[in-house]
């Protein structure tokens, strides 16, 4: 249980101290000090917060705060210790949901409840200032959000061969409606009927990252109740972090003995990432040729099913003419970590620098990634030198659709 750090002690004991987490922890790799690597992080959590042999110092606080929750360590951990959850639970124990100062907390709450920052669009400068970043680092906000453009149910071209729900996350809704628009168009030409559920809120991952388990639960309850009513076999998401939250973390927040458990598990079982979904169902319309070399940045939160990480690769290989130029380390974290980069500027930039170099060395001018946070953070790191987009947006282009961004130009 994320609101009970002690419930993770057995999992923490599983850590054999093999040090394999040194291979992937981006925070450790940025300065190579072992204090920041998962095995030490857990040791410090154990000594300061569980067994309390040591006082919870400023330094210990820094150790639990300087974690991107990317779970890269878990992916390389032979015994699969859920370090991200342990850090979330530690943050819960320490801050009880009040890690951020009050203005930031209120702002984040508003964003999560309104699935984005609609209504705050005009205050973008204020928003940027309040979280301590220059407006340059967040993408220019489009005039219309996804929900301004799409609501309700959309019939496909021809006979529907499946009916899906579409969980539209905060970022797609307000920052990147072009992704949502591409998803809608691609599904429709492939014979998929789509319902956009009403009154969806944020998936809850920013609250989990704050260790604000109560708020995460409130949001999840709302979503579960809403999504459970959809009469569909699958609920797609274009965002790997929303997917991770709804598929996996939901089950940690709403445990098996919870009254909402059955509903939550039914919803979680339907969650599928959109490129993964299209790989499984297959394309009914053949994409046109696009002469486009691209590279693929694998989002950290892609590992919630075995096929998500590879799905964009195989889906885009259906487009004649595209070539995937792999980075040396496509799975290495970009440093964004949701909104981690806002409070950890220097560290995130240090993590991003080798990623940018790796991207540039592929010689391609297009980066594909499903995660909106990676997209935005890579985009600012690349200084507009290369296009960063969702895999479905490239597929939409191959079908001859203009992107929302081009339309508005």
């Amino acid at each position: 249980m994320l609101n009970d750090l002690a419930s993770y002690s057995d999992l923490m004991e599983k850590c054999s101290h093999c040090a394999f987490c040194e291979a992937t922890c981006p925070v450790y790799l940025a300065d190579l000090l072992e204090t920041q690597v998962a095995r030490s992080r857990m040791l410090i959590v154990k000594e300061t917060l569980l067994e309390k042999n040591l006082p919870f110092s400023k330094r210990a606080e820094e150790v639990i705060n300087r974690c991107l929750l990317c779970s890269s360590c878990q992916q390389t951990c032979p015994v699969n210790v859920p370090v991200d959850e342990i850090v979330m639970a530690a943050r819960y124990q320490v801050y009880k949901g009040k890690r951020l100062n009050l203005p930031k907390r209120m702002l984040l709450k508003q964003v999560m409840e309104k699935r984005g920052i609609k209504g705050l669009l005009k205050k973008a400068d204020l928003l940027a200032k309040s979280v301590g970043i220059s407006p340059k680092e967040i993408p220019p906000l489009p005039k219309k959000s996804f929900e301004d453009l799409y609501q309700g149910t959309y019939e496909p071209e021809g006979k529907a061969r499946d009916h899906v729900g579409y969980f539209v996350g905060c970022a797609t809704n307000t920052l990147y409606p072009d992704t949502g628009d591409a998803v809608m168009k691609v599904l429709q030409v492939n014979g998929i009927k789509v319902t956009i559920p009403d009154k969806i809120v944020c998936c809850g991952i920013p609250a989990l990252a704050e260790g604000d388990i109560e708020t995460a639960r409130e949001l999840m309850e709302k979503n579960v109740n809403m999504l459970a009513e959809l009469d569909v076999n699958s609920i797609i998401t274009d965002c790997t972090s929303c997917g991770l939250t709804l598929k996996k973390k939901l089950l940690q927040v709403i445990p098996e003995d919870d009254p909402l458990s059955e509903k939550a598990r039914a919803v979680a079982s339907k969650i599928v990432e959109v490129t993964d979904y299209l790989n499984q169902t297959g394309l009914t319309r053949t994409p046109n040729e696009v002469d486009q070399p691209y590279t693929y940045h694998v989002p950290c939160h892609g590992n919630w099913t075995e096929t998500v990480n590879d799905a964009p690769r195989s889906l885009l290989s259906e487009i004649p003419g595209t070539t995937l130029k792999e980075m040396e380390e496509p799975e290495k974290c970009c440093g964004a970590g949701g909104i981690f980069f806002m409070d950890n500027k220097k560290l995130s930039q240090a993590i991003r620098a080798p990623k940018i170099k790796d991207i540039k060395e592929t010689g391609t001018n297009m980066v594909i990634t499903q995660c909106p946070s990676c997209r935005s953070y890579l985009n600012s790191g690349l200084d507009g030198e290369k296009q960063v987009m969702h895999p479905i947006a490239l597929l939409a282009r191959a079908y001859g659709f203009k992107s929302l961004n081009e339309e508005s130009e």
Binding site: H17, A23, L32, T35, S40, P78
Partner: protein, 465 residues
């Protein structure tokens, strides 16, 4: 920062020195954390050999200030555990590959370079550096040299020492020396390069390595063999070797080990056999095809359950990835695990495996056996059910017996982990007191004040210590 860290910070810059209690906690042990720990007084992360020199000179001139060099801290013998406190010298920031010379087939790299990164860099140029300790995604070249690390490639290609041509070493008095050369042949005086190699941080600090490379074999092939019994697997190994073949890797795995590996194997292996062999062949296509056919027919003659030549590259890789995760997987299974590193002459493997089951049955303790059968390096893993003093006593008895059984067969107490702290009590059994005394005299010549990684390799006390 307190006195010591302040002094060190003034010497090499405060960004390279840590002494918060959380930092000290992080550096208390290597991967044998559950068996021995020691709290250091300061962590130093040098970026140059000069930094190391300044720190060692300072330590030499300070009473009772030990220095324990450290790579990834992934060792399995407690070698980098600062059991006497003092300074931990974390070498991982010295991580530059300085030169890869394709014409001379050599490379020069700093001690903190991670082995997998080095592999990647040389393989890009179609070159090959065979040593492959299973912690290669994190372990460092310096740590590999200091412990004579090896892995599955040992059977065909030998272990780290085979590839060390020269070293840059900082001696305890702060002087910086260069041993060996970049020539493949070298016959000048005592071989200090190979004295430093395997010295486990007790003589000085390795800051740079000059390594020999090979051309990258153009192709490889993986074969998975399942056998009815451990005996049959061990005899198949002997038969393959006796037929004059030396595969690039020849790993022995028990049924229990394969069950654990199935957690991460996709698709999982059938676990009908009592023992398994994971074989990798490398070289030219024609040679691989010939050897693969020959191994298949030997396996059939030996009446193994199944031989499978893996055609799918991804599937093949998944077996080796699971193999490299075996040690931590075992650790997660039992409460605690003591992993030994006994090596026997390879024709004695069947006898040794029999001895292990006999010890296991007699003492009532579970002993997993898996390892690099092709080179005789078996890793008996003694599984502890709990922390009780009784379990500890039985396990320690088992360790002694496992080691003794290996020595009785003309084997050795360590093939590739080094002695560190955990096996120090056995060194006299293998080498005899005279040799150990000689080693102590050598140590004295290098390190008269005894600052370098004290308490390792041999048990302190005795005639010359």
């Amino acid at each position: 920062m307190k006195g010591l860290a302040k002094d060190l910070g003034q010497l090499i810059g405060s960004h390279s020195v840590k002494d918060d209690v959380e930092d000290l906690l992080a550096y208390e042990a290597d991967a044998t954390h559950y068996f021995a720990r020691g709290k250091p007084d300061a962590i130093v992360l040098p970026i140059t050999a000069e930094d190391v020199s300044k720190v060692l000179r300072y330590a030499s001139n300070t009473a009772n200030l030990p220095v324990t060099p450290r790579g990834a801290g992934s060792g399995l013998s407690g070698g980098s555990t600062p059991i006497k406190g003092g300074i931990v010298l974390d070498m991982k920031r010295m991580n530059h590959i300085l030169e890869i010379n394709q014409g001379n087939l050599t490379a020069r790299a700093e001690a903190g370079v991670v082995l997998a990164n080095f592999h990647r860099a040389v393989e890009k140029l179609k070159l090959f550096y065979p040593p492959d300790p299973q912690s290669m995604t994190v372990c460092t070249l310096g740590g590999n040299v200091a412990t004579r690390a090896g892995g599955p490639h040992g059977v065909k290609y030998g272990t780290t020492p085979t590839y060390v041509l020269g070293l840059q070493v900082v001696l305890p008095d702060g002087s910086i020396i260069k041993t060996g050369s970049t020539c493949v042949k070298h016959s000048v005086g005592y071989d200090l390069t190979h004295l430093m190699t395997g010295s486990e941080g007790t003589l000085g600090v390795i800051t740079q390595t000059t390594l020999r490379l090979l051309p990258l074999p153009p192709m490889d092939k993986t074969i998975i063999v399942s056998c009815k019994s451990a005996e049959s697997a061990a005899e198949t190994v002997s038969a393959i070797i006796a037929a004059g073949m030396i595969p690039a890797m020849l790993e022995y795995l028990s049924q229990g080990a394969v069950c654990l590996m199935n957690d991460i194997l996709n698709p999982p292996l059938e676990t009908g056999g009592e023992a398994y062999l994971f074989i990798k062949l490398d070289g030219q296509e024609k040679q691989i095809m010939d050897e693969s056919r020959q191994i298949e027919s030997i396996c059939h003659e030996m009446k193994v359950q199944e031989v499978r030549v893996i055609e799918d590259e991804k599937e093949a890789q998944s077996y080796w990835k699971a193999r490299s995760s075996l040690y931590p997987l075992i650790m997660s299974e039992a409460h605690k695990v003591i992993t030994e590193d006994v090596t026997v002459p390879r024709d004695r493997i069947p006898t040794y495996l029999r001895a292990l089951s006999e010890i296991s049955a007699r003492l009532g303790v579970s002993i997993g056996a898996g390892g690099h059968a092709g080179d005789g390096n078996i890793h008996p893993s003694i599984m502890m059910r709990d922390d009780s003093p009784e379990q500890m006593k039985i396990s320690q008895a088992a360790v002694r017996e496992v080691v003794k059984a290996g020595l009785d067969l003309g084997g050795s107490i360590s093939g590739e982990h080094g002695i560190g702290w955990h096996k120090a009590e056995f060194i006299v059994d293998e080498l005899g007191q005279r040799q150990v005394n000689l080693m102590k005299s050598i140590k004295k010549a290098f390190d008269p004040t005894g600052i370098m990684n004290p308490g390792k390799i041999w048990v302190e006390g005795g005639s010359s210590c």
